[in-house]
C-alpha cells in the first residue's frame, strides 16, 4: 500500500496500531511494522511525527528479535528432546513422525 498519499498523522496512527497489535502475541505485525515504516522512519527527511514513528519502529524491531530468540530456543529444545520426553512430548505434538522415535 502506498504511504505517500497519506497525511503524516495517519501514518503515525497506522504505525501505532501495528505496534500495539503486536503485543497480542503477534510478532509478525512487528516485522511488518519494521519493514513498512523503515523508510519513513529513517530515510525520509524529518517531519514532526517522525520521531514517534522511529521509536515505534525501533521497539517493534526489538520485540520481533526477542520473539525470534525465544521461538528458536524452544523449537530447538523441542525437536531435540521430544522423543525423550515420552508422554509429554507426544501430547505436545501435532504430528508425530512415523517409524523414528
Amino acid at each position: 500500500m502506498n504511504l505517500e498519499r497519506l497525511p503524516n498523522e495517519e501514518k503515525l496512527t497506522l504505525c501505532r496500531k501495528y505496534y500495539f497489535g503486536g503485543f497480542a502475541f503477534l510478532p509478525f505485525l512487528w516485522l511488518v511494522n519494521v519493514v513498512w515504516f523503515f523508510k519513513e522512519a529513517f530515510v525520509e527527511p524529518t517531519y514532526t511525527e517522525q520521531l514517534q514513528i522511529k521509536t515505534y519502529v525501533k521497539r517493534s524491531g526489538l520485540g520481533f528479535l526477542l520473539w525470534v530468540a525465544v521461538l528458536t530456543t524452544w523449537i530447538t529444545i523441542f525437536q531435540h528432546f521430544r522423543a525423550e520426553w515420552g508422554e509429554v512430548g507426544d501430547y505436545l505434538s501435532f504430528t508425530i513422525p512415523l517409524g523414528i522415535p
Binding site: 500500500m1 497519506l6 508422554e87 507426544d90 505434538s93 501435532f94 508425530i96 512415523l98 517409524g99
Partner: protein, 643 residues
C-alpha cells in the same frame, strides 16, 4: 471428396499406429521387480523394539554378494561405493556377520538372505533361553534355576530375532530372480584384482518402512492420540484366540469357581515364529504338540461317553506362547479374576505336551517343577505314575530327568506363577532341545522326517501313514490313557484307549504339507474354506483376530470330540445348543507389531489439491486485478485508503 478420403486415411493411419505401436516403460528397462520376498518386521514389547526398519522411501545400495566372513571388509570398510546391499547365502546368515553389519550400519543399506530348499545343519534365531523373564523362575522362585543357569534349553540359539537392525532385511527364495541378481553382480560389481569396479553398477532397493517405534506403551498411546488430518494406526497388538474344549461341557456364561469341580487340564501350544515375518512352520516346536493332543482327545471320545471319569478333562490350545506366553497368561488372568468357566482352585493337575516328535533315543521325558516338588506343596507322583504305567506295550518309556532341573519353557510355568499346581510337561528332550531349528523357518516337515513315497497323489499322501505319524500316535495313546486315569476313569477300560494313526497322519499332512485337502475341507465351515491353501498354514500369531491354525484346531477339536447330531443347516448355525467347545479371547498384555500402510497416495493427493488451490487463487487474483476497473466502481476516494 479429396478432403473426405484424406480424413478417412488419417483415421485409418491413427488406428493402425495405435494397434501396432507398443509402449515401452522406461521403468521396466531399469528395474526388475522381485517377487517371493519376505521382510523382517519390527516388533515391540514393553521396553524395547526388535526387528528391522527401512527408510521411508526405501533403501538403495550397490549389490555385494558376500563370499565369506572375511569378504565383509569390502562393504564395511574398503568398498568405494557405499552404501552396499549385502546378499547372503544361508550359511553366512550368522550372528557374527549380522552384528558386524549392524555396527557399521551407515555403510550397509540392507541385507538379503537367500533361503535354500534344504535346511542347514542347524539354525535357530531365537534366544538361548526362551521366555526367560516371563516364566515362573525368577529371583524369588528358584533363583539358581532362573535365566537358564542350570539348563540352557536352546543352545543353538543366536538371538538374531531379538536384535534391532536399522536396515531392512529380506529373504529371497533360491530361484531365477536370485540367479539374476548374482549374475548382475558378477558382471558389473565384482572387484577384479583389487581395483574398484566402475559405474554402472547393479543396485537393489528394499522397502519395508515400519511405523511403530520405541516400545508398546508409547506406540499404543500414539494410536490413541489422533490430532492430525489423517489419523492412522501405528501399531497393532498381537492377538488371536485360545481354543479350549472339555469332555463334559460347561455353560460358558457362568464364570468363576465351581464347587466340587476338579479338572485335569491337557495343554499344548499353537504358535511359532521365525526371523522373517509370518513364514513360521513350527513343525517340531508346536505342530507335534497340538497334533498329539488332538489325537489324544479323539482317542478319549468313546470311552468318556461310555464310562465318564470322575473329573473333567479340559483340552487347551494356547496361542501366542512364543511371545512371553500371551495365551496362557490370559487364561490364568481370566481364572484369577473370575472370568473363566473354572477357577485356579478347580484345577487338579496339568499335563502339557511340549515338543514330542524328534526323538534322540526311544524314551520321552517328564519334566516337572523342582521347587514346588521340593517344598512338597504339590504331589506330582500320581500323574507320573499314571503316565509311566500307560506306556505298557508301546515300546518306549517315560523317564523323569534329574530332579534339580527346571521346567522347560511351557505354559505350565504361567499357571505355577499364580499358584502351585501339580503339572508335568511331556517332551522328547531330556535337557537341551532336540530341535535344531527352534522358532526358525527351517522347522518344517523335513525336520520331522515326514516323507512320502514319490509316486503318490495328494489324496493318497493324505491317507498314507508315515513313521512320524506312527510314533506320534503312540505318544497320543499314552497321553490319552494317562489323562483318563488321572481323571479317575475306570481302570479296566484303559487299555481300550488307542489313538488312530489315520487321523494323526491326516493331521500331519494338513498342518505340515497342504491345508487344502479333502478332510480339512469337510471339517471346516463352508464360509471359511477360503483360508485353506495348498501350502502349510503359517503359525505366526499375527494381528488378525483369528488365524488359520486357530480356526483349524477349533473345528478339528469339535469334529474329533463332539457327537454328531441330526440337525439341519439352519439349526446348526444357531448357537443355542450345548457346544462341546467354545472360543476364548486371547488378547496380549504387552506386545505389539508395527504396521505399514501406503500413505503415499494420500499425501500426494493432499499436496496436489493444495497446489491446485494455490494456482487457482493466483489466476483468480490476476483476472480480478486486470479487470479491476470494470469490476469495482471507478470513483476513487483518496482519503480512505484500503489496508
Amino acid at each position: 471428396m479429396g478432403l473426405e478420403s484424406s480424413k478417412w486415411a488419417i483415421i485409418f493411419l491413427v488406428c493402425w499406429l495405435y494397434k501396432n505401436v507398443s509402449c515401452n516403460s522406461v521403468e521396466q528397462k531399469i528395474y526388475v521387480e522381485l517377487n517371493n520376498t519376505v521382510p523382517c518386521v519390527r516388533l515391540l514389547n514393553a521396553t524395547h523394539q526388535i526387528g528391522c526398519q527401512s527408510s521411508i522411501s526405501g533403501d538403495t545400495g550397490v549389490i555385494h554378494v558376500l563370499e565369506s566372513e572375511a569378504d565383509l571388509e569390502w562393504p564395511l570398510s574398503k568398498g568405494p561405493n557405499p552404501p552396499y546391499m549385502v546378499l547372503l547365502e544361508s550359511s553366512l546368515f550368522t550372528r557374527s556377520i549380522m552384528m558386524k553389519m549392524k555396527n557399521e550400519s551407515n555403510r550397509v543399506a540392507g541385507v538379503a538372505v537367500v533361503v535354500p530348499n534344504t535346511s542347514p545343519p542347524e539354525f535357530s534365531p531365537h534366544t538361548t533361553c526362551p521366555n526367560e523373564n516371563t516364566g515362573v523362575y525368577s529371583d524369588n522362585y528358584g533363583p539358581n534355576l532362573a535365566h537358564c543357569n542350570t539348563t540352557v534349553w536352546n543352545p543353538r540359539g543366536n538371538g538374531l530375532s531379538y536384535e534391532e537392525f536399522d536396515f531392512p532385511v529380506f529373504s529371497l527364495k533360491e530361484d531365477n530372480e536370485t540367479e539374476f541378481i548374482k549374475q548382475c553382480y558378477l558382471d558389473h560389481n565384482r572387484a577384479v584384482n583389487g581395483s574398484a569396479p566402475q559405474y554402472p553398477l547393479c543396485a537393489m532397493q528394499l522397502f519395508s518402512h515400519m511405523h511403530a517405534v520405541t516400545n508398546t506403551p508409547t506406540c499404543m498411546r500414539r494410536n490413541d492420540i489422533n490430532f492430525s488430518i489423517n489419523p492412522e494406526m501405528v501399531c497393532d497388538p498381537l492377538g488371536d484366540y485360545n481354543v479350549w474344549g472339555s469332555i463334559r461341557p460347561y455353560n460358558d456364561t457362568v464364570f468363576g469357581h465351581k464347587e466340587n469341580e476338579s479338572v485335569v487340564i491337557a495343554a499344548a501350544r499353537l504358535d511359532s515364529r521365525a526371523f522373517f515375518w509370518e513364514v513360521s512352520t513350527g513343525a517340531e516346536g508346536s505342530v507335534s504338540g497340538f497334533v498329539t493332543l488332538l489325537a489324544a482327545a479323539q482317542a478319549l471320545r468313546e470311552v468318556t461317553h461310555a464310562a465318564p471319569p470322575t473329573r473333567n478333562i479340559l483340552f487347551a490350545f494356547f496361542q501366542g506362547e512364543t511371545f512371553d506366553y500371551i495365551g496362557s497368561s490370559r487364561m490364568v488372568y481370566d481364572m484369577e479374576n473370575g472370568k473363566f468357566v473354572i477357577d485356579l482352585d478347580n484345577i487338579h493337575s496339568v499335563l502339557e505336551i511340549g515338543q514330542v516328535a524328534v526323538h534322540s533315543g526311544t524314551n520321552l521325558f517328564l519334566h516337572s517343577d523342582p521347587v514346588s516338588r521340593r517344598n512338597n506343596t504339590v504331589n506330582d507322583e500320581n500323574l507320573v505314575n499314571n503316565l509311566q504305567s500307560s506306556t505298557a506295550g508301546l515300546g518306549f518309556l517315560l523317564v523323569e530327568p534329574n530332579v534339580s532341573q527346571p521346567l522347560p519353557p511351557s505354559s505350565l510355568q504361567r499357571f505355577l506363577r499364580a499358584q502351585p499346581i501339580p503339572g508335568i510337561v511331556l517332551a522328547d528332550h531330556e535337557s537341551a532341545f532336540n530341535n535344531r531349528y527352534y522358532e526358525s523357518f527351517y522347522d518344517n516337515a523335513a525336520n520331522l522326517n515326514l516323507t512320502y513315497p514319490s509316486d503318490l497323489s495328494p489324496e493318497e499322501q493324505l491317507e498314507f501313514v508315515t513313521d512320524t505319524a506312527k510314533s506320534l500316535t503312540d505318544v497320543a495313546t499314552v497321553v490319552a490313557r494317562a489323562l483318563y486315569k488321572q481323571a479317575g476313569g475306570d481302570e479296566s477300560l484303559v487299555n481300550t484307549i488307542k489313538a488312530d494313526p489315520k487321523i494323526v497322519t491326516q493331521m500331519l499332512y494338513g498342518f505340515l504339507v497342504s491345508s487344502n485337502n479333502s478332510w480339512f475341507q469337510a471339517v471346516m465351515a463352508p464360509e471359511l474354506k477360503n483360508i485353506l491353501k495348498p501350502s502349510p498354514p503359517e503359525y505366526y500369531v499375527g494381528v488378525a483376530m483369528s488365524s488359520t491354525p486357530t480356526r483349524l484346531v477349533q473345528y478339528l477339536l469339535a469334529n474329533l470330540t463332539g457327537a454328531a447330531t441330526n440337525l439341519t443347516q439352519s439349526q446348526c448355525q444357531k448357537p443355542d445348543e450345548l457346544p462341546n467347545e467354545s472360543r476364548q479371547v486371547g488378547v496380549p498384555l504387552d506386545l505389539s507389531v508395527c504396521r505399514w500402510i501406503d500413505v503415499q497416495r494420500i499425501t500426494m493427493l493432499t499436496l496436489g489439491v493444495g497446489v491446485a488451490v494455490l494456482f487457482t487463487s493466483l489466476l483468480v487474483t490476476y483476472f480480478i486485478s486486470t479487470k479491476a476497473d470494470v469490476l469495482f466502481s471507478s470513483t476513487r476516494e483518496p482519503a480512505s485508503a484500503a489496508y
